[in-house]
């Protein structure tokens, strides 16, 4: 179980907004996080990953404390075993598809499997600038899985994929999550996008 209780003020054009989240997410399940633009969905994911520190709050994952501002505990992102799919993909321009995955894992068989899953077999030696938007997005998903994380945080991960490809990848991801015992939080603008993928839903207001 992931328990989150945080407060974070963020600067906006209109002034300062307060993001306040109190939620529990099921372990080994896929939960979609929805909400209007500017509600703080991406900020929430980054706080869970340890990339942003909130002013107040506590995050516990299976009773392990990742963050507790009252006792100054703040586990580094490197120690959280989290995979992150960024909305802008955040691919490394200097690395090929295979190098992206090898950067996270030395398990060649697992990497081959990921590449097949992402339908990127023919693009192993391609760098991001030579991939289409959909291919880049798939690579971003695969890279986040390369480290075999316990928690996968995905920010709008299927927005550039066509319907058929999206459904295929979703079903293969579910099998992989089950096998590797991965908990997944998916941020999406469109509640229907992750339909059939997510088992639970949380709305950020």
């Amino acid at each position: 179980m992931i328990e989150i209780n945080i407060k974070k003020s963020v600067k906006t054009y209109a002034g300062t907004d307060l993001i306040e989240v109190s939620a529990s997410f099921h372990d080994l399940r896929i939960t979609q996080i929805t909400g209007p633009s500017g509600a703080g969905k991406t900020t929430l994911l980054k706080i869970i990953a340890g990339l942003i520190k909130p002013e107040y709050g506590k995050i516990t994952v299976n009773k392990n404390v990742w963050l507790d501002t009252s006792t100054s505990i703040n586990l580094e992102p490197q120690k959280r075993s989290v995979g992150f799919v960024f909305q802008d993909y955040a691919l490394f321009p200097n690395m090929t598809v295979t190098e992206h995955l090898h950067y996270g894992s030395g398990d060649t068989q697992y990497i081959d499997r990921l590449i097949r899953m992402g339908r990127l077999d023919a693009f192993r030696t391609h760098k991001p600038k030579h991939l289409s938007g959909g291919q880049q997005q798939r690579l971003a998903i695969l890279r986040a899985l390369a480290t075999k994380p316990k928690l996968l945080l995905m920010d709008e991960p299927f927005s550039a994929l066509d319907h058929v490809l999206k459904n295929n990848i979703m079903s293969e991801l579910k099998v992989l999550f089950e096998e590797l015992k991965i908990t997944c939080l998916v941020v999406t603008h469109h509640p229907l996008e992750a339909a059939g993928f997510a088992e639970h839903s949380f709305e950020l207001i």
Binding site: P77, Q78, A90, F92, Y103, R143
Partner: protein
Amino acid sequence: MDLTPIFLSLKLACITTLILFVIGLPIAWWLSGRDSIPKLFIEAIITMPLVLPPSVLGFYLLLAFSPQNALGKWLQEHCDIRLVFSFEGLILASVIYSLPFMVSPVKSAFIHLPGSIKEASYTMGKSKFETLWYILLPNIKSSLLTAAVLTFAHTLGEFGVVLMIGGNIPGVTKVASIAIYDSVESMQYANANYYSLILFSITFIIVLAVFVFNRKSAKSPLE
């Protein structure tokens, strides 16, 4: 024609570029982080040689390292180092004078990298150093080359600072730019022309090489 001034200039430029590459990268990395008042203050000091007349910088360095003054006296008595009118003094002056040419392009390149690639590396369990080594530095290769070349070329062309702190000692501090000035002063225009042509050719080849190397990796070859 005596080629010693050309070799001295090349030696000075190589050593200065090497030293600045080592100390300039961490400074640029640090400056590219979140703004703070001390950072702005230090950045302003680093940038000063860009706008300050070289003779002003040379004058103060000469005063500071003169054995008649406290710092120069201390260096000579305790470390047996004499910086004025020596090649070591030229190196120190060049490092200070060329520092902004190394730091500014590298800092700018770090700032323009998307922050999310750094974050992606952290979430893959990589340390700050691994992220710098495997992700950030390879993605600013063209800026690193530009910074190194600008530093090298700028050091090669130094005159004011070099003259103030090093003087004109043949084989020690008489670099190519001083040799040109010296030749003109003594009406040896043919000599001045040789030195000038050699400096011109070296800098042209270096700049051309940067343009060729960076033609695909940067929007502007001197980016």
